[in-house]
Symmetry: C2
Subunit: 307 residues, 2 copies
């Protein structure tokens, strides 16, 4: 089962384990460009150098002052606000910008890349990125999407951590036109950063993550929104934990919700039906039904390992 | 404001600070009976002895083997499965049983107590307990309800902690017939255990806690229930935090939901309206509205101190 993934590659669509027991031999990247140096981008930069995956990391962003700070902190080797200049010199690019800016960035970079350059991303939604980029990239430049399922409600490279991807799942989402070589290179990249790689279609990824990540964010935000100021002193650890992720960046999450709109609405419908079952049991004072619902929820919660 | 409570007593109904800057002189309890020795009862027992609030603590419960284990661990001085025998000898009793068993227990204990015995509880719902006990207790025996807003999804005295109540709010919920002396004794008891005491009506308590504790539990449970087994590997810290409290005991929480039924349903309606606003913004691809909703939720979340 997926729970036992170590560092192998797993094909979730076909339910067959690919024969990659150890991380394969992987190119050492001469120059890795990380586009968007926040929590995820900063962690990739740190991990790539700490693990010898890249000899040099250029951080690309819009705010030079922030990039210079990341440079001073030793997170990146070079800072650049010029994406095309950085793309011309990079061997591999990883886009860690908000999901609604990834496709255009990839396209701009791909237009100037050398042949053989590999582009991937770390966006939380995959369909709206991978399907848009399915066609029209220049020959010799390939994009294969990915999503490391790791993160935090915290933002900024100040919270970057070279070990963020260790023992985490990273989903790689090729489309039909993606070459096996590009898939292998992207898989090897994430494995070298410590992640367990799972290969899925962009659509299967978006359905799964709607349920495990995007819906929980919506649920937490909708709950946080209901708290009246006068009741704040009575919010203890239960409230705080349940709403913790509502502290995430509103621009990022708005883009994720709309980027994964259909699956979000489907997951939300499923959740509304679950809520309605609780409501009915409470309305009808049906203690037996309520206990059953709570027990099933508890078992489901406990099936997810803590960590 | 309530945020700045130290160890004073605060009357949330009247919005006036009672003149009790320091914990008042308090009786040292000769024999404290803790009825229900779980996480909360065990923590009361530990804190009462660690802070010199009681000279001796008798733990009362239904399972002798469990009580003997609590005794072996030094949590209680004596174990008893006989509530009335323990009540006859106690100066103060604190009921920490599930909320649907507190009122009958208090009535049974009160029937045999000596005059001057004080009875309180630690139940998460107050109306269904305090209003039932408003009348009919023998003369000289008083009940004043309370609820220390502290806890965990964990169960059992194995997780008891003498510091559980430190810097936590404890709500004391007298009714019209409760004497000021009984209120003062109960307030002093919790202050001595390290809590900040807030005085409220049972109804005001139940409305506040529905929003800050009971609804979050329902929200977390309804979300945990929607997770499909095949998606477990993609549940990261966001899912785990948002659903953590769904691991709570289903019997306890079923009794809380039904004990606070009207306020639960009112809070749930408020939450459903909040969810509907998110749904509408996603359906209409209204990124401006979605960002506003997420930003308001984030600000509300951040208004609640971590701790």
């Amino acid at each position: 089962m997926l729970e036992n993934l170590s560092s192998g590659t797993y094909n979730a669509g076909a339910m067959s384990q690919l024969p990659v027991p150890d991380p394969p031999e992987f190119e050492t990247i001469e120059r890795l460009a990380v586009v968007g140096v926040g929590l995820i981008g900063g962690s990739i930069a740190l991990a790539a150098r700490a693990r010898g995956v890249a000899r040099s990391v250029v951080g690309v962003g819009r705010k030079l002052a922030r990039l210079e700070e990341a440079h001073c902190r030793g997170i990146i080797d070079e800072a650049s606000t010029d994406l095309t200049a950085a793309a011309r010199r990079a061997d591999v690019l990883v886009f860690c910008t908000p999901v609604d800016r990834i496709a255009e960035g990839v396209r701009a970079a791909a237009a100037v890349c050398r042949a053989g350059t590999l582009i991937t991303d770390a966006g939380s939604v995959k369909g709206c990125i991978c399907r848009v980029l399915e066609k029209g990239l220049p020959p010799g430049v390939e994009f294969a999407g990915s999503h490391p399922v790791a993160g935090s409600e915290k933002q900024g490279f100040e919270f970057a951590d070279a070990r963020l991807f260790e023992n985490r799942v990273c989903v790689v989402t090729p489309v039909e036109s993606t070459s096996r070589e590009a898939v292998a290179r992207v898989c090897a990249f994430w494995q070298k950063l410590g992640a367990s790689v799972v290969e899925m279609s962009p659509e299967a990824h978006d359905a799964a993550l709607a349920q495990t990540s995007h819906l929980p964010h919506l649920v937490a935000a909708a709950l946080a929104a209901t708290l009246s100021p006068e009741n704040r002193p009575f919010a203890a650890s239960g409230f705080r934990d349940t709403t913790r992720i509502a502290s995430g960046d509103s621009e990022l999450w708005s883009a994720i919700f709309l980027g994964n709109r259909e699956q979000m609405l489907a997951s939300l419908s499923r959740y509304e039906a679950s809520l309605a079952r609780f409501r009915q049991a409470i309305e009808q004072k049906d203690s037996t039904a309520l206990k059953e619902l709570l027990k099933a929820a508890k078992m489901n919660r406990e099936s997810v390992a803590n960590g």
